[in-house]
Amino acid sequence: MFGLIGHSTSFQDARRKAMDLGYDHIAEGDLDVWCTAPPQLVEHVEIVSAVGKTIQGAYIDSCFVPEMLSRFKTARRKVLNAMELAQKKGINITALGGFTSIIFENFNLLKHQHIRNTTLQWERFTTGNTHTAWVICRQLEINAPSVGIDLKKARVAVIGATGDIGSAVCRWLVDRTNVAELLLVARQKQPLLDLQKDLGGGVINTLEEALPKADVVVWVASMPKTLEIDSTNLQSPCLMIDGGYPKNLDAKFSGKGVHILKGGIVEFFTDIGWSMMELAEMDRPQREMFACFAEAMLLEFENCHTNFSWGRNNITLEKMDYIGNASVKHGFSTLNLKTQFQAAVA
């Protein structure tokens, strides 16, 4: 069985969803009540892949909401308790979705392997970052030409280049594409220098330097809240791939020639009988999902029960190839820009 650990995008959404699901005691509670709410296994699902393989899965809501980010202990408990529940339910491989993998990584939850009488088995969990990185790379390769960007002549900026996903995307771009120039943007200098050395190339830029000259911008870091961008200073056409969480680029950028694509999202070839992707505000919640969630499904389809994506900067091109091939084989495709006709219909 595969598992997905997720959460609502806001406290308000979480309450609404809890009410729909009949969890009145949580729905009616204030944020303090939510802080004491145990994780909930809210949905079981059966999925048949494009090659006819059937797997079972479960969605666990961690009862975390982004409003808890400033409560360090609460956030930590939410993630660990949800992981414990997944393991207790005997789930083979569980993806940490949304903020849960960020919390796991940044709060160094590896130190907290013992939860009550359970010793967490890390091999049962994956961040899903390998699939996310592969999907973002494919989205770039597919969609840039569709808006008139020739990758061979293009400057591609990766914002958050030194992160787990960002560094994997950079490796792919250097090795598998002929982009004209790769611009590396991140907060800290030394990791950038290390990355540049590893890649054997790339130009280190500040955000302000990179944005006006990039034909493609891959965002895999949250955008600074205070960032003000004048869209008229951007290239036209400009493809922005919003791989951050939450996905809020479209609120910052608009204008002729700027194309914004939700990054790291995949679409399954057929409807899945679940309701939980509505929580993540997907346009087509029966088919669309985060690539990190899909990674848990792919590992279950492939009987590859291991923490495939784990730790920082461990994503290799070989692993991206493996998960990418599995993705295509089992019926996932990347989310792409709508054609003008589709956009008009929508």
């Binding site: 009540v33 919390i103 907060r187």
Partner: protein, 240 residues
């Protein structure tokens, strides 16, 4: 989708786990005198309750006596924890603390309401105890930590007899279970509120205590065969 460089998260990276409290201060010992008493009284209550339940189901007396003996062993362990810190447990406070649950249990016992008795003891008191022990272990002095770890180990190893009984009789006892829960779960909530300040002095966070309780409570109810919605309805009694 994971982004590892979120500024909100970055700000919190420097947060570290808190250090253990100073077990020698007067304020710690003062709070400990009540918390320790609650734990001792809780184990005593558990012992007495299992013996009492045995009078309603005499053919299970032996099993229940075994459980009761274990609770008594735990009580002695926790008494030693207080002694080790030079703290005299405030037993009158603890008696009053358990007064509500104790009264309801005795009433149910006299009316032969086995389901209510098991709900109070095997679900609520057990969940209350185990959740408090889990939180306490993280901040306890070394002696008490060892004792408490042993107790928790016992609690996981022994068969929760009441839970098993409720599971086997769920078809016929559900209505009484719901009713008893509505009457007794709010008492747990108010007990937690009452003890929150002292628990805080021991670095036991009220929010964490409540969450641990809800996890143990939910686990028990799942184990006896209730579905998520039924559990949610029952848990509502703790909120309103």
């Amino acid at each position: 989708m994971p982004i590892l460089e979120s500024p909100e998260v970055a700000e919190l990276e420097t947060c570290s786990t808190s250090e253990l409290p100073d077990f020698t201060t007067e304020s710690y010992k003062d709070a400990y005198s009540r918390i320790n008493a609650i734990v001792i009284e809780g184990e005593q209550e558990a012992h007495d309750n299992y013996i009492a339940i045995g009078t309603l189901i005499p053919d299970q007396l032996e099993e229940l006596q075994k459980l009761a003996r274990m609770e008594l062993k735990h009580m002695k362990g926790f008494t030693a924890c207080g002694r080790n810190l030079g703290v005299k447990a405030d037993m009158p406070f603890a008696k009053e603390f358990f007064g509500g649950l104790h009264g309801n249990f005795q009433k149910a016992l006299s009316e032969g309401k086995l389901t209510t008795c098991f709900l109070i003891q095997a679900i609520l008191i057990e969940a209350f105890a185990i959740s408090a022990y889990h939180v306490y272990i993280r901040v306890a002095d070394p002696f008490a930590r060892k004792i408490t770890e042993g107790v928790v180990q016992d609690e996981y190893l022994h068969l929760n007899y009441g839970q098993e009984w409720l599971k086997a009789n769920l078809d016929t006892c559900k209505d009484e279970l719901m009713k008893a829960n509505k009457e007794n779960l709010p008492l747990i909530r108010s007990m937690l509120d009452q003890v929150a300040k002292d628990a805080e002095s021991l670095q036991m966070d009220k929010e964490e205590l409540m969450e641990e309780f809800m996890i143990a409570y939910q686990d028990s109810l799942t184990e006896i065969g209730l579905d998520n919605r039924e559990i949610a309805r029952m848990a509502l009694a703790a909120v309103i």
